[in-house]
């Protein structure tokens, strides 16, 4: 795998440059916002990447927690399977399909929901035992970096276009802020904890965070219906050419995130191997 890394790095660099060129030069100028809107190609893919990484962290944390007992592991597997089956079938049932927001096709929703068990079982298979914890810390750290980018570019975008740095009722930006806070506190717990079971405690905190996110979303959503707020980032439809460039940038960001995660993951694995080796040495060698 080691030789693959430089090759992928070069490919990613090329992809990033190409995507950047598309974003800054080729994509059409927005009718309302002018050229300022181009920050969307940096802001939105960062957000999507951050959310994906946090999702991976959540899955890895759940896997780590349930593997302690075989009964909980089995129960979790069944739940993941159930989510997949329900997600696959439900959006196509007419009663449910009517409830979906306009513009969202049932197949898109089904695919998104099926990704949950897909990730669950894939991560469970490819990252056994302690590797789960390494994956968790990697995805959390890199996720926080991307999330920071989102929170910095958000106000930078908002100020010239909407005249305000921040709107507390902006559901996306505020939810992202809370997610960022939760994961920074997660990293703090990992750093400050001196327990032998730090990994379990951190995994528990990640689960708490994941439970919190939908609550954050809905609390702000309702708050906004009572107190109308400016919407940063705009809603509504997007020009298909812009969407193309957006997706291209997301692909480039994903490749970049993958490279960074891979490095970090390898670094953490090596770090732990060194610690194990040193411990083994102290086991067999001269007493301290």
């Amino acid at each position: 795998m080691k030789r693959a890394f430089p090759i992928l790095a070069v490919l990613t660099a090329c992809l990033l440059i190409y995507a950047g060129y598309q974003a800054l030069i080729v994509a059409p100028t927005d009718a309302l916002q002018g050229d300022v809107y181009r920050i969307i190609y940096y802001h939105v893919p960062s957000a999507w990447t951050a959310f994906l990484l946090f999702f991976i962290n959540f899955i890895a944390s759940v896997q780590y927690l349930v593997r302690a007992k075989p009964s909980t592991k089995r129960a979790a597997n069944w739940i993941a399977l159930a989510i997949g089956i329900v997600g696959l079938v439900a959006p196509f049932i007419p009663v449910v399909a009517q409830q979906l927001p306009a513009g969202m096709r049932p197949s898109a929703i089904a695919t998104t929901i099926v990704l949950i068990p897909a990730f669950y079982f894939a991560i469970g298979k490819w990252f056994p035992g302690q590797a789960l914890d390494v994956l968790a810390v990697t995805s959390a750290e890199v996720g926080v970096v991307f999330c920071t980018v989102v929170l910095v570019t958000g106000p930078i975008w908002a100020r010239p276009v909407w005249g305000i740095w921040w709107a507390p009722g902006d559901i996306r930006l505020t939810s992202t802020l809370v997610l960022w806070l939760i994961y920074v506190s997660y990293l703090m717990l990992r750093r400050f904890s001196h327990s032998a079971q730090t990994h379990m405690l951190a995994a528990a905190l990640a689960v708490f965070g994941a439970l919190d996110v939908p609550l954050v979303y809905f609390s702000i959503w309702f708050f906004r219906t009572q107190h109308p707020q400016p919407v940063i980032g705009g809603g509504g439809s997007i020009d298909p050419r812009m969407l193309q460039v957006l997706l291209l940038n997301w692909l480039a960001f994903l490749c970049f995130a993958f490279l960074v995660c891979w490095s970090r993951y390898r670094l953490e694995r090596l770090h732990r191997e060194v610690e194990e080796a040193q411990a083994l040495e102290s086991l067999n060698g001269v007493p301290q």
């Binding site: 927690l65 302690a68 809370v178 806070l181 939760i182 920074v184 506190s185 703090m188 717990l189 400050f192 904890s193 001196h194 327990s195 032998a196 079971q197 730090t198 379990m200 405690l201 528990a204 905190l205 689960v207 708490f208 965070g209 439970l211 919190d212 609550l215 954050v216 809905f218 609390s219 702000i220 309702f222 708050f223 009572q226």
Partner: protein
């Protein structure tokens, strides 16, 4: 199940008895709460027209800080002399200990809130325009939300450096939806502008979700070295 409750109540009774015997912590907390209210009254002009709109937030921020000071003491007695080890080696269910601590904190923090509320009413000349009785569910559910997660994170913080700092670091981000519910709900009731029903439902949902999560994971936290 009933033995769980008997043990919970026995632990709670023991904690209340011990708290009552050394009234220092109680007196200090009461005085601290009074100070917080006074400081806030100097920070924000209570006579301004808009005060009714912001008092909801002020009150809950004050409660939050008082709660954190109280929560940091949750496990102090169990850590002295390593009493927590005695609990860990016993067959007693971990959740009995957890529930007892949560209930104890709930009673204590509610006591502080009951003290601070009339002071706020006095300093800010509060006059409730909406249905005042709804303040009770908002208050109870909001307090439970802070206390249940606070007790859980206090137990997590036991195994960390800078213990007293870790508790608010862990608690505040997770509590944001609950704080929004408490503040917006209280403001809605005080101003009478909006119905507070959704916020009460939000707080109830929050409480159910996180109480379940805490009960499911507390044993893991307790048995961590």
């Amino acid at each position: 199940m009933s033995s769980l409750w008997r043990l919970t109540l026995a632990t709670l009774a023991k904690d209340i008895r011990l708290e009552w015997r050394s009234k220092d912590a109680l007196n200090a907390m009461l005085f601290f709460s009074l100070l917080v209210v006074v400081i806030f009254s100097f920070s924000f002009d209570p006579l301004a027209e808009e005060s009714r709109h912001i008092v909801g937030g002020l009150v809950w921020v004050a409660f939050l800080f008082a709660a954190v000071v109280a929560l940091n003491q949750t496990w102090a007695r169990e850590l002295r002399n390593q009493v927590l080890d005695a609990y860990r080696v016993s067959p007693a269910p971990a959740n009995a200990l957890f529930l007892a601590k949560v209930l104890g904190n709930f009673i204590f923090v509610s006591l502080l809130e009951a003290l601070m509320t009339p002071l706020f009413v006095v300093f800010y000349n509060l006059h409730v325009l909406g249905p005042a009785w709804q303040l009770i569910p908002v208050g109870l559910l909001g307090t439970w939300a802070l206390v249940v997660n606070g007790t859980f994170f206090a137990a997590m913080s036991v195994r960390t450096r800078s213990r007293e700092l870790m508790l608010p670091l862990l608690l505040f981000p997770i509590s944001i939806p609950a704080v929004l519910g408490m503040v917006a709900g209280t403001t809605a009731i005080l101003t009478g502008n909006n119905p507070a029903h959704f916020y009460i439902v939000l707080l109830l949902t929050y409480d159910v979700v996180f109480t379940t999560a805490c009960l499911a994971l507390f044993e893991t936290v307790l048995q961590a070295e």
